[in-house]
């Protein structure tokens, strides 16, 4: 299947040659086509950073907002118009650093959106400082003696909060990444896909070979409904497991908790304000 419907044609892209973002973009477009999502019914929301430029490189509706703030508008877009497919996509600094609080609370709120995080363990656009997921001891122009903070573990955090769908992919594996994306996008609820990727310019430690040596796929018989096992895998130190860690299919998603949708999913812009109800509300202030 061609990804033509999302293709931008010959455009100037701000990513470095060999950047892991290209593989993620390609997998995303393919995933969207395979689950037959129409560009005009899709919104990609992003923050700031190199990964956050991804919505500009595929033909669809985009909300490229502030650094770290993709999740709040993404939640609201889905809440106001449930007919839209909403993907919030950005880098590790944007989602786990600047936007960390929203990440935690999006898990609690469980909007029916997909959150794709490009995780290259380094800040690219600001030229090579440590990111929240940089491995301890990672030397940068700022962390001159090596990062002294423990890396943020988004998978473990998400499992601890009983997130609805949690997966990790490796951008170097196109097919698997695409399949994980498809499952995440079609999952009802907040789905998190942390994608390990290279930064060919600023991360000389976590190279393609390093990722090959430090990852493995969860086994075919792995049970993604077992939260305790998922947490065990999430905190493994030597190698990063890849695949779908955990699914909780029973959680209500945000829109399902909203009274506006108790009698149907008509988008809010198609509804009229009930003036007669407002008149009676005002009149109720006569009685005390």
């Amino acid at each position: 299947m061609s990804t033509e419907r999302f293709d931008m044609g010959n455009i100037d892209m701000a990513w470095c040659p060999g950047c892991g973002n290209f593989g993620i973009l390609k997998a995303l477009k393919k995933a969207l086509v395979e689950i037959d999502i129409k560009p005009e019914k899709l919104v990609i929301v992003s923050g700031i950073g190199q990964a956050a430029k991804i919505p500009h490189y595929l033909k669809t509706n985009i909300f490229n907002g502030l650094h770290g703030r993709a999740l709040p508008p993404a939640t609201a877009i889905k809440a106001v118009n449930p007919a839209l497919t909403v993907i919030a996509e950005s880098g590790d600094g944007d989602m786990y650093g600047e936007g960390g609080n929203h990440f935690i609370h999006a898990i609690r709120r469980n909007p029916d959106i997909t959150n794709i995080i490009h995780n290259n363990m380094v800040y690219g656009l600001t030229k090579g400082q440590a990111s929240p997921t940089s491995q301890s001891g990672f030397i940068t122009p700022v962390q001159v003696n090596g990062t002294n903070s423990e890396p943020f573990n988004p998978i473990a955090v998400a499992i601890s909060l009983d997130a609805s769908f949690i997966a990790r992919a490796f951008a170097g594996d196109y097919e698997q990444t695409k399949d994980i994306m498809k499952k995440a996008i079609t999952h009802k609820g907040y789905s998190i896909v942390d994608i390990l990727q290279l930064c060919v310019t600023f991360n000389k430690v976590n190279t393609y070979q390093w990722f090959k040596d430090h990852t493995y796929y969860l086994e075919d018989n792995y049970d993604p409904f077992d939260r305790t096992e998922a947490f065990k895998r999430a905190i493994e130190k030597d190698k990063f497991p890849l695949g779908i860690f955990y699914i909780n299919p029973d959680k209500l998603c945000f829109n399902e908790t909203l009274p506006v949708y108790s009698a149907g999913t008509t988008p809010l812009f198609r509804r009229e304000m009930a003036i007669e109800k407002l008149v009676s509300l005002v009149n109720s202030k006569r009685a005390g």
Partner: protein, 578 residues
């Protein structure tokens, strides 16, 4: 002294003061409604400490034969619930103030004799009824009795107010109210208190609302269907009001993790076709500032209710101030247009909030409603609200395949599409962008985009609401005020009683109406009245008109101006002569 005689007609000022937890708010809720139903004009406001229990909080209730809508310094009847209460309102107690209290418990040696006490054994009676917690309803009963609302009317209201609830509790509250009513009758029979405020049957059917409800009603009228906010005094009551009414009005009300999320969520809601607002106060708004700029850049409508409280930082969390005008005016980095409203009358808060949604949508800009704690917490009765004037315009356009979200236009407005409505794609980008909405570093296009955004200022200024002149056109001296001080200054003007002084009130503070200059030119003397220390609106008027206003009446201790304060300070500046 000590004769304990109060004779009042026309306008009576009652103050109840006690700890948080004494139930003074309950008394305020009951009395404002009950007295209004009995045909009295009512005004009520409160000042309170930032704590859940203890401290000293007070509520003022004005009961009058004519419309009342502003804070007085004067207290005619004071009911202090504890000794600290007496100290708390000490500056407002005069020879004329009658204090209804357990004299033994409330008074101390210092002031035992020089005040006008009427000894009422509140705690003994309340204990007999079931405990000191009934003191508040006992007090409500006394005031209802002094104003002769009718024992049955009181009983009925109390029963209704506490229902549905524990039967025993309802019974005890009814007893407390009844007992209070009897005490009032005894006080009047003994001639110690004589109150004769005339009633008006028309008032009975009027509405009574506070500032928070006014903003909330205006928001619903404006088609608000999304509010995301973080609780912060004194702005929270708008979130509460809209949450309570969410089901009836197809409204999503979400308490979010922080103010940053609140406004970014609201921007997402507008982008997808909602009509969204946030409600916040100083520090919370400071967190929102970056996203105010986002609204500017992506040309998103946004409605921001900013209920001011004294800063900087945490400041005085539960108090009032007009200190955030310049914060709102200059919020967000970069240059982009905005509108700032500051209602003076409660009714205006309804109409301006409604208008805020339509203007935000029309011009695709942030619109502020600047209120404050005093405004949020003040109630008065009014005949009605004209909801037929609150029509909404639908500005969303269906997109076609060639749709460009930021199509360059002369007036700066590009048709606003939303995703999923039409064949086009809708792009919003916080970077400088091209007409389609993609990132650009074309510096000529950058200039065009800045010009496009700022071009909206022309239309916005043309539509600016003119200031309201109170008084004669041929004034010599002009008082200027904005926002919540409207009624206080109006009443002070009445007290001043001078035909050569007029009052110009601004309910839209930005852009400043172009006609302002003409008003200033006509005046020989101008006095600016503001609830802040640096005369912020005065600075804005100077920037806009070139007029440097030298006479200023400023207050920033966290309490609204009282009518008496404004009257005295105007006299001091203007002198006695006409």
């Amino acid at each position: 002294m000590g004769n304990s005689i109060l004779k009042k007609t026309e306008d009576i000022s009652i103050v109840l003061c006690g700890e948080a937890g004494h139930g003074i708010q309950t008394v305020e809720q009951i009395l404002t409604r009950l007295l209004k139903l009995s045909g009295f004009h009512i005004f009520a406001t409160k000042e309170y400490m930032s704590r859940i229990r203890g401290g000293s909080n007070s509520t003022e209730i004005r009961v009058s034969s004519k419309r009342v809508s502003s804070l007085l310094n004067r207290i005619d009847i004071l009911i202090p619930f504890d000794h600290a209460a007496l100290k708390h309102v000490k500056k407002r107690i005069s020879n004329e103030t009658v204090i209804l209290a357990d004299r033994e418990i409330i008074a101390d040696k210092e002031n035992n004799n020089d005040l006008n006490w009427i000894d009422v054994p509140f705690s003994r009676i309340a204990s007999e009824i079931g405990g000191t917690i009934y003191t508040n309803i006992l007090s409500a009963g006394i005031i209802a009795g002094l104003l002769r609302v009718g024992a049955d009317a009181l009983d009925h209201y109390i029963e209704q107010f506490f229902s549905p609830g524990d039967k025993n509790t309802i019974e005890k509250n009814r007893n407390a109210a009844k007992k209070g009513y009897e005490i009032a009758q005894e006080l009047m029979n003994s001639g110690k208190i004589k109150i004769d405020v005339s009633r008006n049957a028309d008032v009975t059917g009027e509405i009574i609302i506070n500032g928070a409800e006014a903003v909330g009603i205006g928001a619903i009228a404006g088609g608000c269907n999304f509010i995301s906010s973080y609780p912060m005094s004194p702005s929270t009551a708008v979130l509460t009001f809209l949450s309570r009414n969410a089901r009836d009005f197809n409204l999503i009300a979400e308490q979010v993790e922080d103010e940053i999320s609140a406004i970014n969520m609201a921007l997402g809601a507008w982008y997808a076709g909602g009509r969204a607002m946030v409600t916040t106060s100083g520090g919370g708004f400071a967190l929102m500032e970056e996203a105010v700029g986002l609204a500017g850049m992506i040309e998103s409508p946004m409605v921001i209710h900013l209920a001011q409280r004294p800063g900087p930082a945490t400041g005085l969390p539960t108090r009032t101030e007009q200190g955030d005008l310049q914060l709102a005016l200059y919020s967000g980095h970069g240059e982009f247009p905005r509108i700032i409203f500051a209602p003076g009358k409660l009714e205006d808060a309804v109409y301006l909030t409604h208008q805020a949604f339509n203007l935000a949508d029309k011009y695709q800009i942030p619109v502020f409603i600047l209120t404050d704690q005093y405004f949020m917490d003040s109630y008065y009765n009014m005949p009605s609200l004209n909801l037929s004037e609150t029509r909404n315009t639908q500005y969303i356009e269906k997109t076609d395949q060639d749709y460009k979200r930021y199509r360059l236009s002369k007036n700066g407005i590009s048709p606003r599409g939303i995703p999923g409505y039409g064949e086009g794609l809708v792009l919003a980008d916080s970077d400088e962008h091209d007409e389609k909405g993609h990132i650009t570093e074309d510096l000529d296009l950058r200039v065009e985009m800045v010009n496009k955004r700022l071009a909206k200022l022309i239309g916005i200024t043309e539509e600016a609401i003119p200031p309201e002149l109170v008084g004669r056109e041929d004034y010599k001296s002009l008082i200027i005020g904005w926002g919540s001080t409207f009624h206080v200054i109006c009443e002070a003007m009445e007290n001043l009683g001078r035909t050569d002084v007029a009052f110009l009130h601004f309910k839209q503070v930005y852009p400043v109406h172009p006609g302002t200059l003409e008003y200033l030119r006509k005046a020989e003397r101008i006095i600016m009245i503001e609830g802040n220390a640096t005369c912020q609106f005065g600075s804005l008027v100077k920037i806009t008109t070139g007029f440097d206003i030298k006479d200023k009446i400023l207050k920033y201790n966290g309490i609204q101006f009282t009518v008496e304060e404004v009257t005295e300070q105007m006299k001091a500046i203007l002198g006695q002569e006409e």
